[in-house]
């Protein structure tokens, strides 16, 4: 499988943990943020689908999760990517259409924008909403 060579082709390190522990077959931490498009491209050429894009607040920035999975037999790969708060990242919408809503949701909840996204806007929160609710610094009183 071509994906074995992911760590050779891209600047990424493999995180050692098992499917039984976490539900992820393989986990990678990508060093170069720009390369995520090529990584996604190589997943897509192997007929993986984009299961989700999400993120979490790790106190000194955002860690993005790109989850790719195979339809026939489970091979759930997660690619992590560290970003600063409200940093502009590269959009995957050119590779997967599914990324349009996933990235909009990340923007809505965490505030990171995506270069090349066709219609980045708040997707779930109401019109005129301020702040990014899933950041740990956000408190409900701000509403």
């Amino acid at each position: 499988m071509a994906l074995v060579s992911l760590t050779d082709n891209f600047k990424m390190e493999k995180i050692e943990r098992t499917y039984q522990q976490t539900g992820f077959s393989q986990s990678f931490l990508l060093k170069d943020k720009e390369e995520i498009v090529k990584v996604a491209g190589s997943f897509k050429s192997e007929e993986y689908f984009l299961e989700t894009i999400t993120a979490f607040d790790k106190a000194d920035g955002i860690r993005m999760l790109y989850v790719f999975n195979k339809q026939g037999n489970v091979d759930r790969n997660v690619v992590y990517l560290d970003a600063a708060y409200e940093e502009e990242l590269v959009s995957l919408t050119g590779v997967y259409e599914a990324a349009v809503w996933f990235e909009s949701e990340v923007f809505d909840m965490f505030g990171n924008t995506f270069k090349g996204h066709p219609c980045l806007k708040r997707l779930l929160t109401p019109e005129g909403f301020k702040g990014f609710p899933l950041l740990k610094t956000w408190k409900p009183e701000e509403v």
Binding site: K44, T52, T54
Partner: protein, 376 residues
């Protein structure tokens, strides 16, 4: 000619350009509060834009201030039509984190309850789908059958829709002899009911409305991350129960119904055939149901060790992923749902472009959405 209001007669009024219509947020066929902004040319949809968020309750944020146990009943309130299957995903993620293995009996009970819920969900879908298309009678037929499933849920869990039945290590209560009798009666009746419903529905009027519209290709399925009956209606053999067997699904013999065509009718056929497969699964699980305790001893307060836990289940709408990030305390530091209807709906704008406005109702219905699950 000037009309006095600054509008020139004849030149622009005659040809209506850029005519927009808001379908929703309170439209019967959006099943909740979803808005489609349709740009029309006559009866035909040129472009569309989906507006979400009318039922957004911020559950992912709320989860961070609630304990793991307090979140359990909330899991029923996303997809209230197949609530038990959502509980399964959440409980599964916690069991993975804690290393708890549910008892053998609990696994089979879960399969029985889960598949009953899948049948109920597909029945509700087919009733509501037909209602969208203008047929009222099928709704009453399917709700009659669903009512019997709801009665069974009430018997085992005390609740009809939001059961809160699954627990870490098993289920809340053991199934009762009364439940087994009800189940037996239900299984005797249900195959005939599915056949009757199909015969009632599949008239020429229905076929004309749903055939050859809303085509989804295999490439779309990968591109948009579609799962569940929507993917299987396009001939993609993807079912989490087969690809990533959880619980005891690997010990049970069942097929994954596939339809090749990828139109609205194919998605309808997949769901009707899935009901039959669910019946087969329940029959086998009842025959294989072992004796023993219905739940493993689990800790009173749940504290997930540091790390990430992902668990996927096949709900009635597709692949549900529950992502939990524990930090050693009794509250998750991140809770995320990869919900199937959200991913399935993201194709809708491209899918309905070029169709007539009456087809929009059929296509949206064939996706099978539950809005509280999409908006969270």
């Amino acid at each position: 000619m000037e009309t006095g209001r600054g509008i020139k007669m004849g030149s622009e009024i005659g040809v209506m350009k850029d005519f927009y219509i808001n379908m929703g947020p309170q439209h019967p066929s959006t099943h909740g509060v979803l808005r489609l902004v349709l740009k029309l040319e006559g009866e035909r949809v040129i472009t569309s834009e989906t507006v979400l968020g009318y039922a957004h309750r911020g559950v992912e944020k709320m989860a961070e201030s609630k304990s793991y146990i307090q979140m359990m009943p909330v899991m029923d309130r996303f997809d209230y039509v197949s609530a038990v299957l959502f509980e399964w995903g959440y409980i599964g993620a916690m069991e993975r984190a804690l290393g708890v293995v549910p008892t053998e009996r609990a696994e089979y009970i879960r399969v029985i309850i889960g598949e009953l819920n899948r049948i109920a969900s597909h029945f509700v879908w087919v009733g509501a789908f037909l209602l969208d298309l203008g047929a009222f009678t099928p709704l009453l037929w399917v709700f009659d059958a669903r009512e019997k499933i709801m009665d069974m849920f009430e018997e085992v869990s005390g609740q009809r829709m939001t059961c809160n039945y699954f627990r870490v290590g098993g289920v809340k209560d053991d199934i009762t002899p009364e439940f087994l009798k009800m189940c037996d009666d239900f299984l005797k009746m249900i195959r005939g009911r599915v056949k009757d419903t199909e015969e009632l529905i599949e008239s020429i009027i229905f076929l004309e409305r749903v055939k050859d519209i809303g085509f989804i290709t295999k490439q779309d399925v990968i591109n948009y991350g579609l799962t569940g009956p929507v993917a299987r209606g396009s001939g993609v053999n993807y079912d989490v129960r087969k690809s990533e067997p959880y619980s005891v699904y690997d010990k049970i013999d069942f097929e994954v119904p596939l339809e090749e065509k990828g139109d609205c009718f194919a998605r309808y056929r997949v769901r009707m055939r899935e009901i039959i497969q669910s019946i087969r699964i329940i029959e086998q699980a009842l025959a294989m149901l072992p004796e023993g305790p219905h739940a493993e001893k689990a800790p009173k307060t749940i504290k997930l060790p540091e790390g990430e836990y992902y668990y996927a289940v096949e709900t009635a709408r597709g692949n549900l992923g529950v992502y939990l990030r524990g930090d050693g305390t009794a509250k998750p530091s991140r809770f995320k749902l990869r919900d199937p209807a959200y991913s399935n709906l993201c194709i809708i704008d491209n899918l309905i472009a070029g169709h007539r406005i009456s087809d929009v109702v059929a296509i949206l219905g064939s996706i099978d959405i539950v809005v509280p699950e999409i908006d969270r």
